[in-house]
Symmetry: C2
Subunit: 370 residues, 2 copies
């Protein structure tokens, strides 16, 4: 039987570029090292969506637009109350963002819908989190920047400048990364001319998978298990000897260290408690050595999850919110990919190959007649 | 900048095979013509899930299992009440099926979860539909077959044998079709080791897109506009002359008539009102002639939507439920693909190509320091 096939087999993007050999990541052509040093999160939103670096007036406008959109529609409030408080936050995000009526609709997604999505995601996370802990919701503060406002809604008070800045850098570094599995799910859904709510729900469903964004807090479990810097080598060995994976190492694309990992190491150093950071560094060294010894031909590197986890812990994000916070960070990237795929105007599909049995008769049996 | 790429670029399946050149569709190697004549829907569920044609005991067991699973969990009841009654049914399906706690979970999806998904989908559609029309829910009847039970829950009384059989044939014919966009979205999500609920939510988000399953009732709009058989040529011409598409014709894979279209024409003839069927036939002939005249080099054929719409109308399914009924039909296919992709144990991703600007410096501006 001939194979059936449609789609080009290659999906194209101009939102972010990854060069795995040299360890380069660019947003719209701008290297991530320069972007994170120079642009606030709100400007990164504008850059990803439009391809242009916003000037001061555009940056102020995006900041204002995002700040005033920090609220959820009444439907969301009702659904939130109907969800079991034990709902995992990333599942609650999928249900609530997916069911926002004003993120649906028959027309291609608009800039207003993209900004609503980006501004509401942290509100939804904070509401779900505080509900699960049976604490009252913290109303969003329009006078705070994106990252500070997220922390304030989670924690109930205005964070230090240092913590807000550290979280902002994390959000900038995680805002896009080529056509990852979640972004690809979003692109497939939108390529049928479905709507933004459906596409983001699909992306969240992929992001939560442990092979994608679903397991970043396991890095902290590793640090906890090792316990103290002098136990680094022994702790790492015992994890490997019982056949477990070392979380936070290795990447399917980068052949050198992920540039985000390099940057996050520095940012985590600035904000983490010194003994926690020392433990992380010692475990990292021990892990890289052990992995090199076990697979000399295929060196693994520290990935974005490793110091990402150390940084998120240091700014006070609880572990069960690591994946949801990754999702919050990625919303501008998803919005940019949504805009891009709608402009492509063709179904995103890989070639497929049928590998089952050749046509054959059914086993003998009765006919069914009406 | 080098392109980044992962994934094989080809996705493989053994669930159903399509040969577009000869117009062949097989489920697990069995031609659809034979499957629809010989197997009840419940056996098709078993065939797709396992690859084996169920014998009489297995068929009876699947029938019993599906019949006893026609209920939704309490969480779903609460969410249903929180959804606006105006929610489009396919969106409601995505929200409610996606949030079913027992379809989630960290383990690979089980046979029990697949059967729950398949059995609950029609319950969810019927509940959403009757709620939108402010009519009381009809409790599921365990003594009816799958198709008859679906019609009874929608319409409030037991359907005729003829209608139930016609709908059953539609459900069988739509139960799988290679790696369509919705099935692909499901496979991408599950390949991250996410859960069945997330994957089905993604698939529903793709299915509703007008380029995929979102527009089948437009066929009836065409018939209504033409109005009577003697106006077929004039009506078709006027649609084309104002630049509109003729829904129900053309397919990206089949170069001859889709075998499902051939079968559905015969089944629709048995169940539709004779004058409605005559109108459909005359409009079909006029449309095929007009399309051939306009594009002699690329003949279009009647597709599955055309007589699918005539059949669904004839069995009393309202137009706004055509896409949800397609989704109900496709659940066993999605379940089979879910099982297949979990067994693959690798990320499903196409190669990607970065097509944006080469690395460049940011425009001059201030550094941000904490």
């Amino acid at each position: 039987m001939a194979s059936s096939s449609e789609g080009t087999g290659i999906d194209e993007t101009s939102v972010s570029g990854i060069d795995g050999a040299s360890g380069t990541l660019t947003y719209r052509g701008y290297r991530i090292e320069e972007v994170v040093r120079r642009l606030p999160y709100e400007s990164v939103v504008g850059l990803l969506l439009t391809g242009e670096v916003p000037g001061a007036p555009a940056e102020a406008e995006t900041r204002h637009e995002l700040a005033t959109r920090r609220r959820v529609p009444p439907t969301t409030e009702r659904l939130l109350r109907a969800l079991p408080p034990s709902t995992p936050v990333v599942d609650g995000m999928r249900t609530l963002l997916g069911a926002m009526p004003d993120l649906g609709g028959p027309d291609p997604p608009s800039r207003a819908q993209f900004l609503d999505l980006i501004a509401r995601a942290p509100v939804v996370v904070a509401r779900l989190h505080r509900r699960a802990r049976r604490r009252p919701a913290v109303p969003p503060a329009a006078d705070l920047g994106f990252a500070a406002s997220y922390l304030a809604m989670l924690q109930g008070d205005v964070p230090t400048l240092e913590r807000a800045r550290a979280l902002e850098r994390y959000l900038v570094l995680l805002a896009d990364h080529g056509i990852s599995a979640s972004t690809f799910a979003l692109r497939v859904v939108l390529s049928t001319r479905s709507d933004l709510a459906s596409a983001v729900a699909a992306a969240l469903g992929a992001l939560k998978g442990p092979l994608h964004g679903g397991a970043p807090s396991e890095v902290l479990d590793l640090l906890d298990e090792v316990g103290s810097p002098d136990r680094a080598d022994a702790g790492v060995r015992s994890v490997l000897e019982r056949g477990d994976r070392l979380f936070g190492f290795g990447h399917p694309v980068y052949r050198v260290e992920d540039p985000r990992a390099t940057l996050l190491r520095g940012f985590a150093r600035e904000v983490a408690a010194p003994d926690r950071f020392e433990l992380a560094e010692r475990v990292e060294v021990a892990a890289l050595r052990a992995l090199r010894e076990r697979r000399p031909g295929r060196p693994l590197h520290t990935n974005v999850d490793y110091y990402g986890a150390v940084l998120l812990e240091a700014v006070g994000i609880p572990r069960e919110l690591f994946t949801p916070t990754f999702a919050v960070a990625r919303m501008p990237g998803w919005a940019a990919h949504a805009r891009e795929v709608v402009e492509l105007r063709r179904l995103v599909r890989p070639p497929e190959r049928y590998v089952g049995p050749a046509p054959r008769p059914l086993p003998p049996g009765p006919e069914r007649t009406a």
